[in-house]
Symmetry: C3
């Protein structure tokens, strides 16, 4: 990262499964502000399902790019806290990422050129961190220092390999495009792993039929109100992937479907 | 709005039905900070019921006035996103409002003198916005620009008419004041559409009897502990309207009542 | 508090039972920013159970120390709002606390040397505060003024006595250390009132057996992954107290236990 970007950095995003009841997120923010009182702190989510690294990786991968250059993304869904897993800083041209090396940065590795450093420089680590709350005792102080200009390479050893979760990818077969639901959002929108461009190039958005949970949906619509209230439709979602939705209704409930549900796009 | 107010503006409030799980609010905030890194961002609510424009309009109408002059209130509960509904900027003497033209600003129109502008100036719009996430792709960039001093009138065409939801109003009849519950809050407090001043002028706060859900409540109390724990009472709420509450208990659950429940104030 | 600390103060933490749906927290923040636009606002929690002063006192006591010197902690879980209970400002060497005098600061009184002042200086109070929303109408303006340098002693009369909740404490008996669960967090971790140091000095961390809800747990582990997934374990929690947890599972659900559950540490 260009040192000038890092020096200007004053935004830290936070992504955890800590919830908003117990005050854990507040303690992490207090720590960050103790290191750098001028930070702007933005919650990405704290209601990731407990220990669900896959969901956290998805949410981070979907939204990191909308933050200012120099933002430090602090992402801690960390069931292995205090065990053998390492802590890492991931440095790309425009953003920094801090968290456990457990796959939470899988989408980042997939999309960005990045250098990765293990957080193992002894002089930066607390004398007696809690082995159960590295977000507060290790990751927050490191993130705070990075916003003050600490070069990422100084947090510890460069890494050639790190943990990555296999990402869901669609297959193009004789039948069409075979993918899966990778996220269900608050509204019941079912986001798939099928890129818009793939549908456009392989089949076309008006000629396609989407098969999901024993239902068939014809063509891709531009907006929810293209169908009657309560009806299913397929749209090109705001993340660039095919989504299954329902106008004014929860599509996932309607289909009794969840993450992992197969979705097939064929030509009619 | 006085240009000086707008230039100093550095607070943006956010009101949506996006929830706090999926990271959508984080993306909107990242966008805002990309436009103006010095913003102070305040969540008004993101847990409005999905698509419930009436509830969103109420929450905005109740709280907007407590924010600093120059605050931009970004309010997006937007089931018609990407369809025919317009986006608007509403400019009053002290605050700006940005969101869809679907009635979410009904209380603002009712309470404030305001100029309204459609967001249709092509040079301000993105080349390829998602038709499903205008909060991120259209409203946030516009709100950010407004905090940097963009005059509201430059976002597009002035509007004479816009969408307004009929607001619930009490009737004064021979029987007394007949109103309705318009909001039930987290504590089970039932806020009505009956203004304090109307009760005072028509009946008086010690002489009145409130009828709701087959119960009768005598007089208006000053605070919850004026009755025994668990008992119903009527109070003049902090928004200036009559509320039905219970001391240390959820009144709405106790009465099995919800938004829309009739409330009648009579003289005993 | 050193006047220099107070003048630099620009962080206010917020702890309430207001929830995040109705916009009450937003109104409080708007008020704070109207008094001091340069504040950094941090949510500690707004999802404390309605009226649960004990839980609020615990969350505040656990996390206040991680905030920068000069932070004003605004803590309002306040079932007696508008009644006889006083409002107070509590001043310690490093932090200020503002809220109702109902026991919410019990852990603060227990841990810090502090001066306490009733908020009763008439010139600082609004003409017509709502008796139902002191957080917005009294505590937020006072907190805002404190961040601008108002000395705590000027908010009103010094107090010698104030309301304190009896804190849960373990007993050391012939049987061992007898304590209780004082908090169950989002993950189902059960925090006890038994300090780490007491276990270490009385019994030792490898020799001890923890009895809880008819189960026996041997020794203290360093991290969750020291046992198989789904299994119970005891750890020294990040707050310095003994905790009962389960690896990748909700211990409180597993044990059908809640706050108040007895926990006994014996020597095997």
């Amino acid at each position: 990262m260009d040192p000038a970007v890092c020096r200007d950095a004053h935004c830290v995003s936070l992504l955890t499964d800590f919830g908003n009841i117990d005050g854990y997120v507040g303690a992490v923010k207090g720590l960050l502000l103790s290191v750098n009182p001028r930070l702007t702190l933005v919650d990405l989510s704290h209601d990731i399902e407990s220990h669900d690294v896959v969901q956290a990786a998805y949410v981070l991968g979907r939204h990191y790019r909308y933050f200012p250059r120099g933002t430090v993304h602090l992402a801690v869904v960390d069931p292995g806290v205090g065990g053998k897993r390492r802590g890492v800083v991931v440095e790309s041209a425009d953003w920094l990422f801090v968290g456990p090396d457990n796959g939470i940065f899988s989408h980042i590795y997939d999309e960005l050129e990045a250098a990765i450093f293990a957080i193992d420089e002894a002089s930066l680590l607390p004398q007696q961190p809690s082995d159960l709350f590295h977000a507060r005792d290790i990751f927050a102080p490191i993130a705070g220092r990075l916003t003050l200009g600490l070069p990422a390479c100084e947090v510890g050893s460069p890494l050639d390999e790190c943990v990555s979760i296999p990402l869901s990818r669609p297959l193009t077969t004789a039948r069409g495009i075979e993918g899966h639901v990778i996220h269900v959002d608050r509204f019941g929108n079912m986001v798939t792993d099928i890129p818009i461009d793939l549908v456009r190039s392989e089949i076309g958005e008006t000629e396609c039929v989407i098969e999901v949970a024993d239902r068939k949906i014809e063509m891709i619509r531009r907006s929810y109100d293209c169908v009657e209230a309560g009806e299913l439709l397929a749209v090109f979602g705001s993340s660039g992937f095919l989504e299954i939705s329902a106008n004014m209704r929860n599509a996932a409930e309607l289909l009794a479907a969840a993450r992992g549900e197969p979705v097939v796009v064929t030509c009619r």
